[in-house]
Symmetry: C2
Subunit: 521 residues, 2 copies
């Protein structure tokens, strides 16, 4: 009669359909990207959002933004009507917004070499991409260690193998075994060779961005130029982080210029640890984020009107005790909801969130914090989700077990974003009529008809009795996940790549790699 | 430049304020209950909600509800105009809704013996209560075992000790070492003796509900009757589960009658494992839930117009593979959002959610699933949250470590529900002006002023460097939590109870316990 008492009863009823359970294990949602059917959650009304917009305009007008080490960019701003003093640029009120509104697309298609994997970024669409940028890798067998190109390839293969990540991502981990000034070739090549999903380009130097563009040109061949527009198709989306507060540095500006001029998408993201790079308040953090992002996106439009850009927001709150970044806390969620609404008001695609955590291992902390970020990511209306899977330790590590655990959660997000089905089948009045009071629904026609697609599943979640769980070794979720990623890697099936294209890519890389010495700076 | 690179930088800056960190550890939000400042998230619009309401009315009219083993209740329904055939009651369209609208309060005050702990349930308020109903208890030292009255007292003390649970709950665990027919005395007494927060009464037999009322009368003494209304004050909120689908049994009806007639609140909750007690769809599950809940709440109003009742929804989706209940999946979250909206349309307080999970231990599975339920709980607009802390294994166990881990999360929910502060201090324009591009905010005036209250904290989350974490023993969150609950129990301070009242309670219990033999049925 009390709540838990009901559980054993249903367990008895349910077990009998064991034969069909086997088949069910194969059923998986496979869509190139998600189109949300639930509304976006907003925490601030018109008044609050408009206040933050006005404050961001004030920041742009009165304080301005530093554009470091790039005289060309300063010249562009001067011509556009901004006030330039040294490297500081101040913008007439509303200028950045106006530039963005004029030409920055509300959504765009990022083409994949397999057109079935094209993603549409913006609007009601949600695209999941894996972890980005970790120098370290962790798994239960080998612990924590520097990432290698083999790890990188593994994560590309895992991402390719799951239906729940739509995008191959970029620097899934740092291949620290390769020289800093050449590893971008092998990273970009891995995305091209081991996956046919869309990917991200290198941003650590303008030349490396250019290499990404050249390799993309080879990969896409005759499809590189869109015959309708005469412009390159957008085949990469690359991460341009601001050096918050209120600063863009030469490296990022250089990469941004290369991508924008080649009609490639940029993910313009202030990376903010609130309390250090922004004020300790959510509204203040949103103000800094909006001002920085608008200045970066407006620049892409001055460089190449219509080049796709995503408004990005990455916010963590700093621990006021230790100064360390924290994740899964409420303030960054409030920032996410608010920034998503501000991006919608600018009519721009939005990037934020992911499965972020500060935990070193794939324990309860990792999971609480990741879910505390991923649910806002889904509800807030994020269009492009970096770090959907694998993130550990504030991004310093990517975990193999964490990766596949996050995949389960990403899978369930598909069902969450599909919302409530109110069709006749969804209403299920025939089932309620058939069963009536005091009976159960397990055997009714409606259940039989919907058996295979009913309820999203998280295969790594153990729902068995404690006795069965103990009989299977009392494994926690991370221990169960250890077997899963190994199985996925073992069962990876190469998507195949035209040998001529492969050869041309390898040839380009060999020539470029041979043209300058290795370096780790 | 890539995202994780920013972390070490800020870590260096942050450590210097270590002295004040000590003080910060003391700062805690202490409110008798939460009043939400963010909107409620809804997944269905007017059309979808109205469709479910119509379907629920159809269920009540055409199929009806079984009221088992209680001729008096059948008589009451007959008099009210329902059609009664055997134990089946069918309701003229809209009848239940009309009865509810006429007298069921939108919110009510549950009085605590310490008036500062009174909670207002309904409207924009959120009240957190601990786990309910688990026969087993788990901790890292002793593993899983049957609950005892000592465990029960421990959880009452832990609940009393935290600022993040506002309500002492009810059957926090089953004290299996006491006879079934007498353990309710000791449970109710523990809430009265070891805490001064509001609590729940016994529902396992009408006589036990009556004992709860008698003991409450003793505890509240002169305050039992509200002089303004001449009616008993509402000092308990008790859990009445339907025997879904579409059935109320004699035990629950008996307890409901006792509480409603004594003006005590009932939490009228269909307990539904979707796929077994309801169709495999979210809309179908909401229809069954709404029909059952309306029939139960309408009955409270026929018994005693104005007696407080909460519309409850507990939904889990069944694993179609094993028949086991699952938690933290998207469908129950969609049901929660929808039922919360339906309760608001009925102008009733709403109960749902909590930190639900199927995991046997406090691992990543437990945390993902709990967060996947607690965030919807906060965003959906739940007023009374049972199972906020401790739940494991589909409710069969309560975990000591899980309990304190969930408390951290409950603490952070306070900040989430407080929303974005758009005051002048929240906007922090003075900070942005003071710091400017390229500097950091750690030392600015605004940060200094807001240092102690900035950012919600989860003390069990480890945000330190991996080196420090390893130096401290590489403990996962559950291992860290083991020390926390022991420290809390050690530092528990008795709220004190008037010795005359205590004696009267003990005397009542002794007399009643002596008046009939022990039994375990």
């Amino acid at each position: 009669m009390t709540e838990p008492d009901a559980s054993p009863r249903s367990r008895r009823h349910g077990g009998r359909d064991a034969k069909r359970a086997q088949r069910l294990a194969q059923v998986a949602t496979s869509v190139p990207f998600i189109t949300r059917k639930i509304p976006s959650f907003e925490v601030l009304g018109e008044e609050g959002l408009s206040l933050i917009e006005q404050n961001a305009d004030t920041v742009l007008q009165e304080i301005g933004i530093d554009f470091k080490g790039d005289p060309e960019v300063l010249e562009i701003w001067k011509k556009a009507g901004a006030e330039v003093q040294g490297e500081r640029v101040r913008f007439p009120r509303g200028m950045c917004r106006e530039i963005i509104r004029k030409s920055s697309p509300a959504q765009y298609t990022q083409h994949a070499r397999n057109p079935e994997r094209n993603v549409v970024i913006g609007g009601k669409n949600v695209v999941f991409a894996p972890n980005y940028g970790s120098p370290f890798v962790r798994d239960l067998d080998r612990g924590r260690r520097y990432g290698t190109i083999e790890d990188f390839q593994n994560f590309v293969k895992l991402t390719y193998s799951t239906p729940y990540l739509h995008h191959s991502g970029g620097t899934v981990c740092e291949p620290v075994d390769l020289p800093v000034n050449k590893r971008h070739f092998d990273m970009v090549y891995a995305h091209m060779r081991y996956s046919d999903k869309p990917f991200m380009g290198s941003v650590t130097h303008p030349e490396r961005a250019q290499d990404t563009v050249e390799m993309s040109r080879i990969l896409f061949g005759a499809n590189w130029i869109d015959p309708e527009t005469g412009r390159p198709r957008t085949v990469t989306t690359s991460l341009i982080n601001a050096n918050s507060p209120l600063t863009w540095d030469a490296t990022m500006l250089g990469a941004l210029k290369v991508y924008a001029r080649n009609n490639q998408a940029t993910l313009v993201t202030p990376f903010i640890l609130a309390g250090a790079m922004s004020p300790v308040t959510s509204a203040g953090t949103c103000t800094v984020t909006l001002a920085e992002a608008m200045s970066g996106i407006a620049l892409t439009q001055l460089l190449n009107p219509g080049a796709p850009a995503i408004l990005g927001s990455f916010a963590s709150s700093l621990s006021m005790q230790s100064g360390a970044p924290t994740f899964g806390t409420p303030e960054p969620a409030l920032v996410l909801y608010t920034m998503a609404a501000l991006a919608r008001r600018l009519n721009l695609p939005f990037r934020s969130g992911g499965s972020l955590c500060a935990s070193k291992v794939a324990d309860a902390q990792a999971a609480y914090e990741s879910a505390n970020t991923m649910i806002p990511t889904c509800l807030g209306g994020v269009n492009f989700v970096l770090h959907t899977a694998g993130w550990l330790e504030g991004g310093l590590s990517i975990g193999y077990e964490k990766f596949v655990m996050d995949l389960d959660q990403a899978g369930m997000c598909h069902a969450l974003l599909a919302g409530v089905d109110t069709s006749e089948n969804g209403q299920a009045m025939d089932a309620i009529r058939e069963v009536g009071p005091g009976k159960h629904f397990l055997g009714c026609d409606h259940t039989q008809r919907n058996f295979e697609t009913a309820f999203a599943r998280a295969p790594l979640s153990d729902n068995n009795s404690v006795e069965q769980w103990e009989a299977e070794g009392s494994l926690d979720m991370a221990q169960r996940a250890n077997a899963t990623w190994k199985k996925m890697l073992k069962e990876y099936v190469d998507p195949g790549l035209d040998p001529a294209i492969d050869e041309a890519l390898l040839d380009y890389m060999a020539r470029r790699k041979g043209s300058f010495p290795d370096s780790n700076v």
